[in-house]
Amino acid sequence: MSFTGQSATGPEESSNAQAATHGRDSLRKAVVVGGNRIPFARTGGAYTKSSNQDMLTAALDGLIARFGLQDERIGEVAAGAVLKHSRDFNLTREAVLGSALSAETPAYDLQQACATGLETVLGLANKIKLGQIDSAIAGGVDSASDAPIAVSEGLREVLLDLNRVKTLPQRLQVLSRLRPKDLAPDAPNTGEPRTGLSMGEHQALTTAQWKITREAQDQLAYNSHRNLAAAYDAGFFDDLLTPYRGLTRDSNLRADTTLEKLATLKPVFGKNLGAEATMTAGNSTPLTDGASTVLLASEEWADAHELPKLATVIDGEAAAVDFVHGKDGLLMAPAFAVPRLLARNGLTLDDIDFFELHEAFAGTVLSTLAAWEDEEFGRTRLGLDGALGSIDRSKLNVNGSSLAAGHPFAATGGRIVASLAKMLHEKGRVDGRPARGLISICAAGGQGVVAILEAF
């Protein structure tokens, strides 16, 4: 194990890892019953005036209608939003109250940047496995259009002080501190607080470090659009999606895009690096609005309600990297989480039938794959004997991913889990074992959450 690396086997000895697997086997299963989302809309589009609560409720109501959950008391609902107004402190509970679920359904909010949606699935699945709850709805929502805007620090301090003083002269004195610049609002941005670099600029550093070409990124983006369009045409999303505000498909999807068209786009990130700038609006995800939900249950609950059991939530792993001073790329945490998760479950990349690697940027997916194929990275950073390995690209994001669908931050996890569960169910068994899928989602703050699902 390298001193500076993140060991793939984790703190446990490998013999203990086997025991851990046995421990999990004694738990009951958490199954994915199905999911529902609204089509994702490019920011400033169809959902411009819809709030996070509106969209989450719309996705939830579609799920309720699909699985007959009217008046049902669900064990727990967890969801979240990355861009969230402080008045939405109980966003998920409010969405539940506005939905057709029983008002006696508890709910909580969770926030882990872009990993929010997947983390709600893992947390709730764990509760089901432990027998604490029998049913759960995981979800996420984000609106870049209806983003909260804060007042400036200067105005905020004045307003708070104004509340604390009693007399008119005191009030005037407090107000006199206001300067014109204090009236400028404070809009959210995608910059990392500690580096000031936007997510795209961070990824541009990583993309250049791993020498990912423009052509490879454009090819990944092209595949994403082509695969998503084909999935829509095949009716794959018919039972995964409810139309909302006139949209029936993700509005970012360009079914007719071509490699030639993608090649004409001008780079938008990494223009001041020594290396050639390769990241364009075509191979980066746009800001998007949308919401997704996933229905989870114990086997008994699903059977009692005569609902399908698509897939089992096997295991999950979170990781974080020290990106602040450039030791690793901001979005490279999954490169460490996946080897640990595979090792704990006694698996290799070859044992995976579907790879769902969230496309924050084409460069993110390709940098992660490059790291896994790199001998040096495998030895010094993952503590392995060599490279983790390479994947069969035909198993990667086969029904499209975020580059085509868009990426409403907290909604992406639910989109992927529901789609993957359906794909696994359709695939059934592979070589006598259940079909297996790997989800990997990178997140701001140098974090990542990954998970394994198996066909039920």
Binding site: K49, S50, S51, Q53, D54, T57, A58, D61, Q70, D71, A95, L97, G98, S99, A100, A103, P243, Y244, R245, G246
Partner: protein, 303 residues
């Protein structure tokens, strides 16, 4: 629908023009005396292929506390149909003065969800001209169908009172209704209504009746302050009842003391369930928490 076939209007009538016309008619009748008969117009009006504007729908939903779903709230459909009803009340042969009419009660039957993407045919007519101890009342009925279809998806009956108008041949009820005694229950909600409540609802409903807009415009029509739209209050109560009502339901409201703005309104919503726990209805009443005067009562119930 009674009587003759409705008159098909080519376009949705403009409410602002209708109000201006109503004011002109009121002035003319004041000078020349009333020339309208004592019977209701023999036919209704119909506008076909009406579509909700999604931006307007979202603003309405946010204002009354509905989630911005694709389903049109029952109160939004009332607002959508209102110009057609207004055009009936604006006809030269409509016997009552439109301005200053008081909304006494409202009944809605919603027979299924209507999505904002659907084109609708809206028909409206007047019926049940009758005596009231304080004047003359009339029912304005509106029906909403999917364009080209015959099944009624939404039917609203608004009962209005023309205060102080007594038409020959229409008797007023012999005994004035005894004021029901009301003792306020413990509230389940408390609404804070700002002075701009009427303007905000006017903006999303299109109902720019001057009595709702400002103190001055309300005073011009004889009120001491502007008052909240009745349908705004009822729509908030409907939103408060929530998703338990499903897609088909009955929604009634009877208005009592007007809500002068700004105001605090106390509200009680209590639901009735079957022994097995199935929802039957949610009854609501609202009152002034200071004076205890009741503003409105109503119910949302299984159809």
């Amino acid at each position: 629908m009674t009587g003759a076939q409705p008159v098909i209007l080519g376009d949705m009538p403009s409410l602002s023009k209708l109000y201006v016309n109503a004011a002109a008619t009121a002035a003319r009748r004041r000078v020349l005396g009333t020339d309208a008969g004592i019977t209701l117009p023999p036919c209704g009006h119909e506008v076909r292929g009406v579509r909700a504007q999604v931006a307007n729908l979202t603003a309405y939903q946010h204002l009354v506390g509905e989630t911005a779903s694709d389903v049109l709230p029952a109160g939004f459909i009332h607002a959508l149909a209102f110009p057609v009803s207004m055009s009936v009340m604006n006809r030269d042969d409509f016997p009552l003065p439109l301005l200053g009419m008081v909304h006494l009660s409202n009944k809605v039957e919603q027979h299924g969800a209507i999505l904002f993407t659907e084109a609708l045919d809206i028909t409206s007519w007047a019926e049940n001209l009758g005596g009231h101890r304080a004047g003359t009342q009339v029912d304005i009925v509106a029906e909403v169908r999917r364009a080209g279809e015959s099944a009624v998806l939404w039917k609203g009956t608004s009962t209005y009172l023309a205060k102080g108008v007594f038409l020959p041949g229409i008797d007023k009820p012999s005994a004035p209704a005894a004021p029901a005694s009301f003792s306020a229950p413990d509230p389940t909600a408390l609404w804070q209504l700002g002075v701009d409540t009427g303007r905000a609802y006017a903006a999303v409903s299109g109902d720019f009746n001057p009595i709702h807009l400002s103190v001055l415009s309300a005073k011009a029509l004889g009120l001491r302050r502007s008052i909240a739209h009745g349908m705004y209050l009822a729509s908030r109560a409907l939103a408060d009842v929530g998703a338990v009502k499903g897609d088909s339901f009955r929604w009634d409201v009877a208005f009592e003391a007007p809500v002068f703005l700004p105001a605090r309104v106390a509200l009680d919503i209590s639901s009735v369930h079957t022994p097995a726990g199935a929802w039957l209805c949610s009854d609501y009443s609202a009152w002034n928490p200071r004076s205890g005067r009741r503003h409105f009562t109503g119910s949302v119930s299984l159809l």
